[in-house]
Symmetry: C2
Subunit: 208 residues, 2 copies
Amino acid sequence: MQSMDVPEVVVLRLPLYVRALTQLQMGGTEVVSSQQLGAHLQMTPAQIRKDLSYFGRFGKQGRGYNIQFLLKELRDILGLTKEWRACLVGVGRLGRAIINYTGFAPEGFTIVAAFDSNDDQVGTDVGGIQVLPMGDLAKVIAKQDVTIGIVAVPAVQAQPVIDILVKGGVKGILNYAPVAPQVPLGIVMRNIDPVLSLQSMTFYLKDG
Amino acid sequence: MQSMDVPEVVVLRLPLYVRALTQLQMGGTEVVSSQQLGAHLQMTPAQIRKDLSYFGRFGKQGRGYNIQFLLKELRDILGLTKEWRACLVGVGRLGRAIINYTGFAPEGFTIVAAFDSNDDQVGTDVGGIQVLPMGDLAKVIAKQDVTIGIVAVPAVQAQPVIDILVKGGVKGILNYAPVAPQVPLGIVMRNIDPVLSLQSMTFYLKDG
DNA sequence: GCCCGTTTGTGAATCCTGTAACACGAATCG
DNA sequence: CGATTCGTGTTACAGGATTCACAAACGGGC
């Protein structure tokens, strides 16, 4: 498995490359150098070349990278060629916003089910998705081939919900709750936390 | 200015400490060791002690850290003792969700104004905030002491909107648009991008 | 076919971050 | 009151990541 000796920071940058390349492609560009791509993303050409070199040789000396080809390769590497199925837990304000967010589908991420522990929510329809009781979670994950759990519950419920999701069989967790939850080895977690972002921002703003 | 030689990674971790300490405080704990805090956050005690040592000596040998005291110090360091005023640009679905998000206010972040370039939106009320035309932006930023701009517009509009915000005088940008915008030196930017998070996650999921 | 400007891929060198080790202060206990 | 335990702050070190520098490769022009 190639993921073994690729630094995680590198993996975190790959989606940025995918996005920048897609944008350039939209603009009609067919070939790009690490120089140009670096200018676009505000990073050094050397870093881009080094990052890519972990996975293969995609460029041509003297020319640069063929965008279409590199994009296909990067999508393969990241596993973006298939549809990824996710379920959402928590259909409060935040959860509803996530379901209705139009940015996931075009990238191949589909929310196929929603759950809530509140009986008033269960049975209602949110953005075309039936809200199910937490008890159905394991069954749905298995039947619907769900690999990603999205957590949009209040802080105190986050850890128990994540435990249930993991036990249910999801392999990745996208956590919107303002906590730093613990997950067993082998489960991939990403936190979305605007408050943390703001709190580190103010450090630099406070006496500027 | 202390911010000069403190590594950015360290600054990014400070809000995590604030959060964990707050949680412990809620639970009634008064003193905590780097050991315990590390267990809570899944990091080594050494790292916590090193991080804190960039800013001063907050602990007592043999005892640990007084939570109330350390919290006060960290809040000071991060600049979290004052109210931070932000404005939002873009009151589509995402923008509305951000305005209604209840997580900002308790941490001292207030959204005091909202803008949109769409004339149909201008004048409407969203979550108790009047939506203003983009033209009023500079004026409002100055008059209302706004230091942070929150961007919730479609990708193509993000860069121009950010340019306007910066010219208008904000010092920090919280960007929800799926792009990697360029900002002049001295402006602090943080990106909130769940799609990027998912795309780096799938790298590890794709053949697990 | 050969030269020339360009740009890649990659060791080597540098910089940065995290970890381990330890000396010292503070509290506790008999 | 001396010995012991605990946990900090700090220094030294190891491991990673980033940048540098250059040989090798490519394409175009002639």
